[in-house]
């Protein structure tokens, strides 16, 4: 008989912590902020330093935490930090340095309503910050948007794998709903932390001590403009590869759809319900859920644009991802937007009403 997988009930934030321990993370550095404090609380509760040897440290600020991530990633270690919107704003300088120094790591943003101190309720208004490069300079993050507790666990592992595949920071862009809700989850299998020797082989650039090689330097600084341009060109070549290889999305009833709702994360869950309601009324609606927000499923939207009458983007914001949908559609069919802001979640019924008003005429 097949051994039953162990199914657990937990919050999305807790799933991140368990997944990090299980996938062989070496370190977590964070600072408490609602609605994601359960990530660090769970790690502290689990005491992985006694089992896998993973280090967990509460930093004095989000700024310190992201720079600890820089230091850890610079050693080739598998490290992550988590925060929520205002805290992630504080991390932006560090993220820019990490991207330029080409260090693999994971940043989790469980978004809340902004701007400013805002609210602690769910939001997706950090989309621009995440996918357009929230810090200074030309850089990109691989951005994954989980829409269930299971994906909070799975994408923690995936995001770290992608980070190491491309030596680049990746981000889990979740929100208060996915972070706070509890669902069933099958946690990823335990993978031992890499040995020092394995790290030296996988990350020959890391500051693991100058043994039988030239000294390694982790830096994002260049004195000459030409040298810095070379760094930029290298980054852009890498980003082009990521665009080519790593686009991920999910479609619900798009095959015969006349209209497409585009939504990510928790909004995609609402979107699924909108599809149910619309189909009940005879409206052929499909849902496109970008899983990678960067790289964005531009080509898939272009493909769908040839067969549908219009798109509507549903977001917990004033309309951010809709701009990328419009860029992809490039004026061939209408692209509308519906969203709520400041922590208010649009319900399926009001979304369907908006869809009918704006698009289905």
């Amino acid at each position: 008989m097949k051994v039953m997988e162990e199914i657990k009930l937990m919050k999305g934030n807790e799933a991140i912590a368990h997944a990090a321990i299980r996938c062989g993370c070496d370190g977590y550095f964070g600072y408490p902020i609602t609605p994601q404090s359960e990530v660090m609380e769970t790690l502290m509760q689990e005491k992985p330093w006694e089992t896998t040897g993973m280090v967990v440290l509460q930093a004095e600020s989000e700024v310190a935490a992201i720079n600890m991530v820089y230091g850890g990633a610079g050693c080739g270690k598998k490290v992550l930090t988590s925060s929520s919107s205002p805290g992630v704003s504080l991390k932006q300088e560090g993220i820019s340095y990490i991207a330029c120094a080409e260090l693999p790591c994971l940043i989790v943003n469980v978004m809340r309503g902004g701007p400013g101190l805002g609210t602690i309720q769910p939001s997706q208004a950090d989309y621009f910050q995440a996918v357009k490069g929230g810090g200074h300079g030309d850089y990109k993050l691989i951005v994954l948007a989980p829409s269930s507790v299971q994906e909070m666990a799975d994408f923690t592992v995936l995001a770290l794998d992608l980070a190491f595949k491309y030596n680049t920071p990746s981000m889990l862009l979740a929100d208060g709903i996915v972070g706070q809700m509890m669902e069933k989850v099958v946690l990823p299998p335990f993978v031992p932390r890499r040995t020092e020797e394995e790290i030296r082989q996988q990350c020959p650039w890391a500051t693991t001590g100058k043994v039988n090689r030239k000294s390694n330097v982790i830096t994002s600084l260049a004195l000459q403009a030409e040298e810095m341009e070379e760094t930029n060109l290298r980054l852009q070549r890498k980003y082009a590869q990521i665009v080519e290889n790593e686009v991920r999305f999910e479609e619900v009833q798009c095959d015969d759809a006349d209209y497409i709702l585009v939504a990510f994360g928790s909004c995609a869950r609402v979107g699924e319900k909108v599809v149910e309601l619309a189909r009940n009324e005879g409206i052929k609606l499909g849902l496109l859920r970008p899983i990678t927000l960067w790289p964005f499923p531009t080509k898939e939207i272009q493909r769908l644009a040839k067969q549908v009458k219009g798109f509507m983007s549903l977001e917990l914001s004033a309309g951010q991802m809709v701009e990328d949908v419009r860029l992809a559609v490039n004026g061939t069919v209408p692209v509308e937007f519906y969203g709520r802001q400041g922590g208010v979640v649009p319900l399926a019924e009001e979304t369907l009403a908006a869809l009918k008003e704006k698009l289905v005429k």
Binding site: I7, L9, T34, P35, T119, I120, Q121, G176, I177, Q180, M181, M182, E183, K184, S266, R269, V270, G271, E272, K273, V275, E276, V345, L347, A348, E349, E350
Partner: protein
């Protein structure tokens, strides 16, 4: 089959944990489940609510406009969620502290005097289990055995001596819940 439930009351009444116990029992029964709290500054004394969805199929939105079942444990929660019940839905309420009765005619209404019973049983902490027992008597969305198994699995060993009191509260709730006409 999908059941969409809202449980609402004061913070400190055990609203969130009651939802969690329900969700856990649903999981043990092989159902898809989502437990979504209205998290926020609503701590002890404020209002708290949690949406629990139990389903045989993949669950879409964890945030809902309308519910099949509303368990309301204070007046603000009755005011907020009575109008959001689907027609034919079920409202379960504790009359303690309520200033009015439910108004709607197109729903089934049940009353459970769980606050009084918890006091009578000298076990105020089992209040939410009395309510849960009442709910499961009215709508057996999960099996009582699964609730008890869930408690056994999730309570730390040192609290296992509380299991009999919880089971007694569940049974008592099943006894005292009443349909209102």
């Amino acid at each position: 089959m999908k059941t969409e439930i809202i449980i609402a009351g004061f913070g400190g009444q055990g609203v969130l944990s009651m939802g969690r116990i329900l969700a856990y029992a649903g999981m043990l029964q092989g159902k898809e489940i989502t437990w979504m709290p209205a998290y926020g500054p609503e701590q002890r004394g404020g209002t708290a609510n949690v949406t629990v969805i139990l389903s045989d199929e993949r669950i879409s939105s964890p945030v809902l406009q309308q519910f099949d079942i509303a368990v309301v444990l204070n007046q603000p929660s009755m005011d907020k969620f009575e109008p959001r019940l689907k027609s034919g839905g079920i409202l379960l309420y504790d009359s303690n502290g309520m200033t009015r009765k439910p108004k709607r005619k197109d729903i089934s209404i049940y009353r459970i005097d769980a606050t009084d019973m918890a006091t009578e049983m000298n076990a105020p902490k089992t209040f939410n289990m009395i309510v849960l027992g009442g709910l499961l008597q009215v709508v057996p969305v999960v099996e009582i055995d699964k609730v008890m198994l869930g408690l056994q699995n999730t309570l730390p060993e040192r609290h296992h001596h509380l299991l009999p009191a919880n089971e007694a509260a569940l049974r008592k709730g099943m006894e005292i819940v009443e349909k209102e006409e």
